[in-house]
Amino acid sequence: MSVLVYISTQDGKATKASLEVASFAKNMNSGDVIALVSGDISGDANLGSVGVAKVLHYSDTVTDNSQLSKLTQAAASATGASVIVFSGNNEGKAIAPRVAIAMSAGYVSGVTSLPEGKTFTRNVFSGKATAAINVNSDVSVISISPNSFGIKSEGEEAAVESFSAELGPQGVVLNGFTPTSNNGSVPLPEAVRVVSAGRGLKGPENWGIVEDLANVLGATTACSRPVGDMGWRPHHEHVGQTGITIRPDLYIACGISGAIQHLAGVNQSKVIVVINTDPEAPFFKAADYGIIGDVFEVLPKLTEAIKAL
């Protein structure tokens, strides 16, 4: 028995999301964890440190999800894996369903905790409920909701073997990539801490206090939909129903009232702090900690207090 994990790398090392996938797979206790890596790799891409037994390395860089699906199928067949695990990021969500169809396997998207047998738990209804899903097929394909499991260190250097497969034609050609994450901060879907602000900030020129707090916390900044729509902040910072869904450990909402569409994107956060002048703001009902007050006064004080730790 083995579990195959699909790994993305950056500068030859497994990304944070991918280390989480491998760590999850190891903790499933369903046999050896075999990692599939394509493109650049440095050493074992740090995969041994999270319990991967063996790395299969395809040397060319592949970007088309049809080809990546074929590569994954070939690796799954070669290793006889009974479970194939992807990150539930945009890349994983584009490849994993293809693999499931090609292998006649059941697919569970956005898994949030370790399975019981072949029953996997995931969030549904935009975080308003969970569903336990039974997989009936021999092989299960799953994707893991980012930042739901974390990374547990265990293990030594993993063996790296070169691997090749017939990938078929390239369907989608990548012309270029434009990064959107600000000054190298963690992308929102993977962020452990997020500081988010809304119309209560009154204008884009006031975002300095939000960024200062984010900096001392090592957090990623986000915003509400009106702020993105008005062009105060870039669209890729918009969290909510129609924006990005996040599940950080800590979400600090500044001057956001907490409309249900906003909550749908952030209600899986482990701890929510709300700062708002309006005591009736619906967000307080969903919050763990609240301060009724002016963000222009509270945020600088909070930044100083955290700096003093």
Partner: protein
């Protein structure tokens, strides 16, 4: 241009979420259903814009029973040319993708659109699965599309940035924010939607690869602990000692 848009019925965002049949089924009683917003605002509207600019047709396709007809009429009112409904209760994403692919495979659509996910199951799986079933390229999380002849150039969201990609020939895409703006159907659209063709197709039987064991509502969240705005240090202490988060 011959375009297909996958349209799903979804509970309105403000719906009360409850379950029935031993917590294995969503309780639809009293729930207002809408066109899944990603399917409507981004996929459907952009497909209609492309046909308005280049000529052709936009067909919507839905897997579901007759309770889907009102939301299909809404899509027709917004501007779709005609509609197909595959008459089956969808069980999971594999089921939906296979039914759609089986129906579509000999109909040579140029582009198959879907929203990036539905707001009930949030799987982001059906469009990728249709692409695999039909052996077509797939562009996920597209924020824009421009078409020239048989070639399309798209921007799409990926981890930490935007990919710019090109695809030649037929393909499948999932649409997200940025693709188009929401359109409100006008009276003429609503009137004409009543007589636009809605074809109902029988579904073939298939074995489910997954099934819902049980739905569960999250435990009620505890009360919000209020901290005085003059005592920010207390919030920091709570985050450190109680929540153990910083």
């Amino acid at each position: 241009m011959k375009l297909l848009v996958c349209i799903s019925k979804a509970p309105d965002t403000t719906s009360r979420i409850a379950f029935t049949d031993g917590n294995t089924r969503f309780d639809e009683s009293g729930v207002q259903f809408i066109v899944n917003p990603y399917d409507e605002w981004y996929a459907l509207v952009r497909a209609i814009e492309l046909v308005e600019a280049n000529g052709g047709s936009v067909t919507t396709i839905t897997v579901g029973d007759a309770s889907c007809d009102p939301i299909i009429r809404k899509a027709l009112a917004i501007g779709a040319t005609d509609a197909v409904r595959i008459d089956a209760i969808p069980t999971d994403s594999v089921h939906v993708a296979k039914l759609i692919s089986d129906y579509v495979k000999d109909k040579s659509y140029d582009i198959i659109f879907a929203g990036k996910e539905t707001i009930d199951h949030n799987s982001s799986a059906v469009p990728a699965m249709i692409a695999e079933c039909m052996g077509l390229p797939y562009v996920a999380f597209a924020t824009s599309i421009e078409v020239e002849g048989s070639s399309a150039t798209l921007n799409c969201e990926t981890t930490g940035g935007i990919n710019n990609v090109t695809v030649n020939g037929a393909f499948v895409l999932s649409a997200t924010k940025g693709m188009a703006e929401q359109r409100i159907p006008n009276m003429r659209g609503i009137m004409s939607a009543r007589t636009k063709p809605l074809t109902v197709v029988e579904a073939s039987n298939m074995t489910a690869s997954t099934e819902v064991n049980a739905f569960k509502l999250p435990p009620a969240s505890g009360d919000c602990v209020m901290v005085d705005s003059d005592n920010v240090a207390e919030l920091v202490r709570l985050l450190r000692e109680e929540a153990k988060i910083i």
